[in-house]
Symmetry: C2
Subunit: 107 residues, 2 copies
Amino acid sequence: MKYKKHIFVCTNQRPEGARVCCGEQHGMALTAAFKKAVKDNGLLATVRAQRAGCFETCEQGPSVVVYPEGVFYGKVQLSDVDEIVQQHIMNNKVVERLKLDFSENKD
Amino acid sequence: MKYKKHIFVCTNQRPEGARVCCGEQHGMALTAAFKKAVKDNGLLATVRAQRAGCFETCEQGPSVVVYPEGVFYGKVQLSDVDEIVQQHIMNNKVVERLKLDFSENKD
């Protein structure tokens, strides 16, 4: 696998007054914060953080998904980035307080 | 896991004359084609296709990655979409002729 962890951050922006969404401005700031944390922790060779479009988790955003685990995080703030990187990305421990539950879709 | 298959399509556009890249126009057309194929095959509940930023596979683009497998495809054309959806997404058989190899990063 190219990346041990691949972090996608929603940067989708819906029109003003439409369905609630993660938002481009916050998403781009989150993406930059994840990129910086990845770099600062010396993970550039094995971890990729990047922007993405809508995950269809809009109401629970701002949203982030980490693959290959497929763990979705919701209501992610800039202050959460270091915890996600240090706990999940570096130590494989999901940040339970931010994890989104999709029980209806579980196999 | 929210999605059984999550397809990300690079839609990154670098400035004219800069490093070769997947390109926004082709990426958005690919994204639309994947979305249509997902819908037409009745997969909307379990498969998500969407745009994303750069995967750092620019020289081998246009690029697509399918998670949770972490299989990257390169030089993907609109004419390849149905094959990827029907062979990989629906039948779990990687489309070897388009698969990118990152042997140096293998675990």
